[in-house]
Symmetry: C2
Subunit: 444 residues, 2 copies
């Protein structure tokens, strides 16, 4: 069925006239998106149709090789070079993927933080195991993944020797230039390209995301097919017929009505990293020029017992978007207890999934009563095809939404501020001036 | 050293006169807290001094037994019966605790959601393993843990037979009454008491949290000792000398200055569930009467590459509190690369921890420059003692902060709204009227 956006529980919060009022801005956003103004950053837009089939097949071959010769795949990357792959793997399998009995490798993500205990534990887990390494970095010089790659490259060469290590190291990096590209050529690593016109947070359907996803055993052809269907489904410039644009419009309407926070919710724990992926996509695209909805996430019913009170009755500053998967793939029936010692017999015979679905309905009604607008993004099931559709839906909606907001959705100038300070404090050559400015102002 | 709150990076955002202005309200909050008005909900206040030593010793004995006879401990609970134990275990060990080579049981948490695939996976992982069960529920009738307990009780009795299963099931429940209490007596389970005067989100230092924490091998005596030191350290009604009260005051000052969101950050992935515990503590205590700071969390540097752009330059609606652990317990030195192929040699010889600490300093300075006030909550190390101190610091500060805000920090009436709707939709006897009201208004 693809992805749909249901506005039923926005009634009372958003009127037809709100949607009519913003329609011309949606049209302008659409026109800008297709005008070529951002051509250098919108390669993701036609990617499901235009992707490099040779590279795609090479991804599948390498994934086969890794599945055959490795117990563990280490994926080194941060931000958009990390979240998409992990989000998809957990979405398609489980947040306990590494614990499941399976014939695919365990997959650990490194280079997304600078915790020495975290990296030390992964090194420990790799002892006595066969390991492959996928380093994902456009420049090769982003601090976190570069440090991790230094450590794991040494580990691999110590373990396998340089000759065999090079058969187990896969670099996903800039097509033409950069430190990692140079090193990969010199060392003879397998190389995949990050397309020039696709930024990190829009890159999950390129080799950046697809190699680790394929290693997990997922069918990446079906993911691309789902994305292609979404591309065709969400092309028309219409609020009436294009749910992707409607979601973008609704977010901006609610923002203008004073909402500051959007909470994306889901009822399956294995979606929690997908929600993190969404947070980067929207937060990094829109959070600039002192504007933007603050993106937050919640897994229900878990977080109804933590953030539920606030959402029901705290500051009225948020709306919710519920990410709902219609069909569950697992069924557990609640049994009857002869003494009904917990008083649950009234729901015996129902599946857990039915109760979970009922909790969703109950929560939407309760939160609406509490004054929280609720939208619903719905897909049919947690298949590869539906995931592909969902990813494309959110990417395109994000671009439209950011353009309506009046920002450039494709840059992230603010991310440099802490990096520059860090380079200065670490005494990287060339940052001496900034270092002098910062010193005397440091926390302990 | 215990917990301290550093306000250096709040200068420019908060002036001395702001603190002077709120001092009388802090004093009132302190007086209310100790007046006995909330006596029935503030048992946590003197718990580190007053805890039941017999029960405490029984927790340690049972933890020993579980460590000796079980590969896996399943902890069933939701909200305050879930987050504290998991937060402490990950804080003290690792977010990969279950993956580490160790001589303590794996610990899985169930009953905190209604995902059938989640619960099915845990059942699978328990095959061919020795299992113990700790069910934590005051009433025994909260839907999520009650369903999970039904499922896992059956599993245990099928696996071990009723006679041995009862030696492996531990109930943490109301002292005197309730469905679970009745069942536990009838079946002969080991029973631990949830004190009447301690609400779920304040219960981690009772048997609720301590049994699973002790099973993980942590020293719960040291946790209680750290909490006791904090109790004594943070008793005085003074903004000058009581950092716990100062944190409560600062939050309220920033709220009144228009900040809507507090982001608690940490630089170690293993703190991510601790941040979730904090979100429940503050969100559920303060989010009522359409008031309160929205609590959010971020793990840096990971999330600097997702939410970093927004924090640096998006809507100016948040402040940050940084949870900093001074001394790391793991050290990895960045090696020198003879070709410097990644350009990192300028930091070779430094430990990863030094770079992580530098990232923190760089980020605080960058975000302050961006207009985001930054407070720092600091502890010495990630020992049990410092964790105990930190827990007490946040609990007491939360109570004071909620009282300054003018809400009852100890109730959570809003959590009932979705539950009541759910009971009605599931046709629980007694909810027929509400069911008729809700129907016709349901999402698909």
């Amino acid at each position: 069925m693809g992805t749909e956006f249901d506005t039923k529980y926005l009634s009372g919060f958003i009127e037809d006239e709100d949607l009519n009022g913003i329609e011309s801005e949606v049209k302008s956003a659409h026109d800008i998106l297709y005008s070529g103004t951002f051509r250098s950053a919108t390669g993701w837009l036609d990617l499901p149709e235009n992707y490099d089939i040779n590279e795609f097949n090479r991804v599948k071959q390498c994934a086969d090789k890794i599945r055959n010769d490795s117990d563990i795949l280490i994926v080194i990357g941060i931000g958009g070079s990390y979240l998409g792959a992990r989000a998809a793997i957990e979405f398609l399998h489980s947040s306990n993927y590494n614990f499941l009995g399976k014939d695919t490798p365990n997959i650990f993500f490194a280079g997304n933080n600078m915790s020495s205990s975290y990296i030390g534990e992964i090194l420990d887990m790799c002892k006595d195991k066969d390991v492959s390494l996928n380093v994902v970095s456009k420049s090769g010089t982003t601090t976190e993944p570069a440090i991790a790659f230094r450590i794991f490259k040494n580990f691999m060469e110590d373990k396998y020797g340089k000759a065999e290590a090079k058969n187990r190291i896969y670099c996903t990096t800039d097509k033409n230039k950069g430190k990692l590209k140079e090193l990969a050529i010199k060392e003879g690593y397998e190389i995949f390209a990050i397309p020039d016109d696709i930024g990190g947070r829009f890159s999950v359907l390129s080799s950046v995301g697809l190699l680790p996803i394929a290693v997990s055993g997922a069918d990446i052809d079906r993911i691309m097919f789902g994305a292609l269907k979404a591309r065709n489904q969400f092309m028309k410039c219409s609020l009436e017929e294009n749910d992707c644009y409607k979601y973008a419009a609704v977010r901006n309407i609610l923002y203008r009505k004073g909402k500051s926070i959007e909470i994306l919710t889901a009822y399956e724990p294995r979606l929690s990293i997908f929600l993190e992926w969404w947070k980067q996509l929207y937060g990094e695209s829109e959070g600039k020029n002192h504007k933007g909805l603050f993106p937050a996430s919640a897994i229900f019913t878990t977080d109804l017992h933590s953030m539920g009170q606030f959402i029901q009755d705290g500051s009225r500053i948020m709306f919710e978007t519920n990410l709902i998967i219609k069909n569950s793939r697992s069924h557990i029936v609640i049994s009857k207890d002869k003494n009904d010692s917990d008083g649950l017999n009234y729901m015996s015979g129902k599946t857990l999934e039915q109760v979970n679905r009922t909790a969703f309905k109950a929560t939407v009604l309760a939160h609406c009563d509490g004054g929280v607008p609720n939208g619903i993004v719905r897909i049919k099931d947690s298949s590869e095809e539906e995931l592909g559709s969902l990813i494309y839906f959110f990417e395109k909606s994000c671009a439209i939404s950011g353009l309506i907001l009046g920002v450039n959705p494709f840059n992230q100038p603010g991310v440099e501020a802490y990096k520059n300070n860090m380079f200065a404090l670490l005494e990287r050559p060339g940052y001496e001036g900034l270092k002098n400015k910062l010193c005397g102002n440091l926390p302990v």
